[in-house]
């Protein structure tokens, strides 16, 4: 039995956790390749026009996977660290099942449906049972996988902290969801441009999640979304250490459309630029905007 993991949405958040878990329980799996033109076009053709870009990419990746594996892993996650998720994550399993109904796809059942702290573990247990793995094996695999993910995140954060302290370049905080930063089509052009302009991109997503969510409580009381709280908290923690902030969103992201407005209103002294990416080609516009943004920051720095 072969499991297919689409390289989209939650994969970028749980990469090490999932791959380690499937390795440990001895399941065979394939991960779809990095986003390319073909996947994007396929995703666009299958989905409703108004759907947000990450979901289009998800459908594209699943389309790539369909004939290459037996089961497709599309988790449904409604809550994360006690906070809500965007409704996209609640609906993605049903969305995929309905979109590909004629092609007979089978999905792995994985459902985190309420706020309880051990819901994720139970969801994993259920999935392991379905795959016919012994309970002790699942338990061991879960612990190992969780640790792998934790260490991965810890080292990533430590490395970034070191860069933050030592680098003499202009530091720009890139605020974007994990599935936007990591994607080859959305995040990589921005990171590449920033590096070629001689800046040091600091990625908000790499900051410690628990710490960030705690920090975000000071800025917003009722913000319901865990991932947006993570990003907001990262800005709050780093606001004195970075020279500028880039808000990178995909069109039309539901949560970002409101949270970005709040960020712009709360941090008036920080230079902030909003970049919106949709499925159109061409990075020239984005490059020009970034260039002028970096120029302004440089001028500001020289004057100070």
């Amino acid at each position: 039995m072969k499991i297919g993991i689409p390289r989209a949405l939650l994969y970028y958040k749980n990469e090490k956790f999932w791959t380690t878990f499937f390795d440990e329980i001895g399941a065979e799996y394939i991960v779809s390749p990095e986003t390319n033109k073909e996947i994007l076009t396929r995703g666009e053709n299958i989905s409703i026009d108004e759907t947000c870009l990450p979901t289009k990419l998800l459908l594209g990746h699943i389309d790539w996977l369909i004939d290459k594996c037996d089961y497709i892993f599309i988790p449904r996650v409604a809550f994360h660290r006690g906070y809500e998720m965007c409704t996209k994550f609640l609906a993605q399993t049903d969305l995929v099942c309905n979109t590909f109904r004629d092609r007979n796809i089978k999905t792995l059942f994985y459902n985190v449906y309420d706020k309880k702290y051990n819901r994720e573990r139970k969801a994993v247990k259920k999935m392991g049972k379905f795959l016919g793995v012994k309970r002790s094996r699942i338990k061991y695999a879960y612990t190992t996988a969780k640790q792998a993910q934790q260490y991965f995140e810890m080292f990533r954060e430590q490395h970034q902290q070191k860069v933050l302290e030592e680098s003499g370049k202009i530091k720009i905080l890139l605020v974007a969801h994990a599935y936007n930063v990591g994607d080859k089509y959305v995040g990589e052009p921005v990171l590449g441009t920033l590096k070629s302009l001689g800046c040091e991109p600091i990625i908000a997503e790499y900051m410690n999640e628990a710490k960030c969510i705690r920090a975000s409580l000071e800025v917003s009381k009722t913000m319901p979304w865990a991932y947006n709280r993570h990003l907001l908290g990262a800005i709050e923690l780093l606001k004195d250490e970075v020279d500028g902030v880039i808000l990178l969103t995909t069109f039309p992201c539901g949560t970002d459309s409101m949270v970005n407005e709040l960020i712009v209103r709360k941090y008036k002294e920080l230079p902030i630029i909003t970049l919106t990416v949709d499925s159109q080609d061409g990075t020239a516009g984005m490059e020009t905007r970034l260039e002028s943004f970096v120029d302004i920051i440089q001028l500001k720095k020289e004057r100070a």
């Binding site: 989905s47 409703i48 108004e50 759907t51 947000c52 449904r76 409604a78 809500e84 965007c86 409704t87 996209k88 609640l90 609906a91 399993t93 049903d94 969305l95 099942c97 309905n98 979109t99 109904r101 459902n111 449906y113 917003s220 009381k221 009722t222 913000m223 319901p224 979304w225 069109f251 039309p252 539901g254 949560t255 459309s257 409101m258 949270v259 970005n260 407005e261 709040l262 209103r265 709360k266």
Partner: protein, 355 residues
Amino acid sequence: MTHREVVACFPHIANYAYAFKYLFENGFEVKYLIPPPITKNTLELGSKYSPDYVCVPFKYCMGCYLEALDLGANCLMQIYGGCRLNYYGELNDCILHDMGYKFEFFDMAAVDWHSPKSIFENFRIINPEMSIAKIVKAAPVTLKIIKMLDKFEDFIRHNVGFEVNDGEFDRTYKEFLKKLENLSDGKELKKLGKTYWKKLNGIKLNKPAKTIKVGFIGDYYTVQEPFSNYFMEKELAKFGMEVYRQMNLTSTLINKEHRKSQKTAKKYAKFNLGATANCTVAEAIKFAKEGCAGIIQVKSFGCTPEIDAMPILQNVSRDFNIPVLHFSFDSQTSETGIKTRLEAFYDMVEARSGK
């Protein structure tokens, strides 16, 4: 002792302002301002101060607040829900305060509904001296008003297309609403309801035995607020169709239909899709089974739960062999475009039901 006169206000949604007015004037003992009816101006005003691609209901709320503040409202209120609506309150509050207005903001999303203390403290924003006894007394009447409004509107929806004298339903209903504004107690409501129910039933109709029925579904705000769907129900009625709609406050607040809806939609959506998406799917299935000739889905642009429901609706459409028309409304939608699409839809539905 309150030093200021409180004027509370919810943003407009259908005609429920009359029910809220009763609750706040008799229960909380504060003045309630019914915001002026939504016009193009409201939407323009709202869009000007809202983020670009936020969903349209936010812009309507914003416009309503701004108009109400100019009329002297000083305690704005916002509800909460399963989607972006959860965050409306804080952002509304933030933007309006940045604009320099002075007011209190009661945000239901900030209330911890599991703790009575938090509920009490938050409701004290509206009136620090509120008496719980009076609120408890006023609440049932409020629910009755909501039920009555929905019952009347349902009746009108089914029959307005077939009235002999144009505009009679509209006139009678407006008269009823005007009387509702100065309601004193439950007894008066009962009397008022009886008279106007008789009056509505007495209106001359020219209804054929077999009519074309259409199901009307969509996201919570757009489907209920007539301005935000460009008075589509009226347009449909003009073609001589009977409009069916389940989504209203009675079905969600009192009858809790949304709990049943997940079961009805189970074949298509195993899980909760967020906000009203499951209701949309369940209603579509229900209308299809009840013999509607077509289904119209209205939603605001970028409404995530409704977008997720769209592929499911397409499957429903295929299985039940029923046409589904999707409308997406933004702050700039042309009326002629909508009319053309509706005409085409009517022609198709008529041709299908004729054979």
